[in-house]
């Protein structure tokens, strides 16, 4: 179980390195798709089937979006490699951050013993014990998402609405000002 998870994580790290290494944009997009699918399989191993399903759907949509901006506009390769100075800086920063993170992991419980067991009256335990009686949902993830913490889901919907709205504004062909300039605004959509 844990070995499978470690194998999946190594695969994802490899796919991530390939995505950054290659000059072909299509290969990079496919490699990042492999990272996403690897995340999905890891979620499945960690007992989170809802997350695995959502991750696959999101990954497919992201792949379509990324292919649209690379092959869709006719850009196939990156122009030039990053300068060695930039690479050294990036390597230094990421190795430093890795060391800091590894050091901070000593405060966390071992893999396989959840944080919720260490805290008295942890909300997660309450959700697990009383979720069925209080919400009537067999799936406790959904009872947290749509009942105990429904305001978070409302906030999520707001963020997605804002993102879609921003994308629509960026994608429109003509601004309002241009339309007024073009005599009398005959091309109303």
């Amino acid at each position: 179980m844990e070995l499978l998870l470690i194998f999946m994580l190594l695969f994802m790290i490899l796919a991530g390195i390939v995505a950054l290494w290659t000059d072909e944009l299509l290969s990079a997009v496919i490699a990042v798709g492999a990272v996403g699918i690897g995340t999905s399989v890891a979620f499945l191993l960690l007992g989170a089937p809802d997350l695995a399903i959502t991750q696959i759907v999101v990954e497919v949509v992201a792949l379509v979006l990324l292919i649209k901006v690379t092959i869709g506009v006719g850009v196939r390769t990156t122009s030039g490699t990053p300068s060695p100075k930039r690479l050294r800086l990036a390597a230094a920063v990421s190795v430093l951050l890795l060391l800091v993170m590894v050091r901070s992991f000593t405060g966390l419980p071992e893999f396989g013993s959840p944080v919720m067991e260490r805290v008295d009256d942890a909300p997660s335990i309450v959700y697990l014990e009383e979720g069925l009686e209080r919400t009537g949902s067999a799936n406790q993830v959904m009872s947290v998402l749509l009942d105990f913490r429904a305001y978070d889901t409302l906030g999520e919907a707001t963020v997605i609405f804002t993102a879609v709205f921003g994308a629509l504004v960026l994608l429109r062909k003509k601004g309002k000002k241009d339309r007024e300039d073009a005599d009398g605004g005959e091309d109303e959509e």
């Binding site: 790290i13 990272v35 990421s94 951050l97 590894v102 893999f111 013993s113 994308a167």
Partner: protein, 120 residues
Amino acid sequence: MVYVLCAMLLCVGIFGLISQKNVIKIIISISIMENAVNLFLVVIGYRRGGIAPIITERIYEGVQFAEKAVDPLPQAMVLTSIVIGLGVMALMVTMALRIYHVHGTYDITEILKSRKKAEQ
């Protein structure tokens, strides 16, 4: 070990974010970082030999459901985070498309050069 591998995946993303010049590659790096953080949060809530937090029976092998299931709270929050990640990705992709329409390239150093030339 699992924690360290998650951190390594995050560092691959950070490395790409700093070193890459292509806008698409930067979006890809952010996507890798997002996956790493989501996975780490779910790993923190994992219980060894745990089952998915879906009630089918009250008692499994003589153990209460609440002592057998994995933590549902990080999973619910990560579900939110994944969907928001898609929204942010869509916004970044449209920004990249806009950059391409204006400058004709995805390379940020070339964009900076052309802007400097235009200012002079």
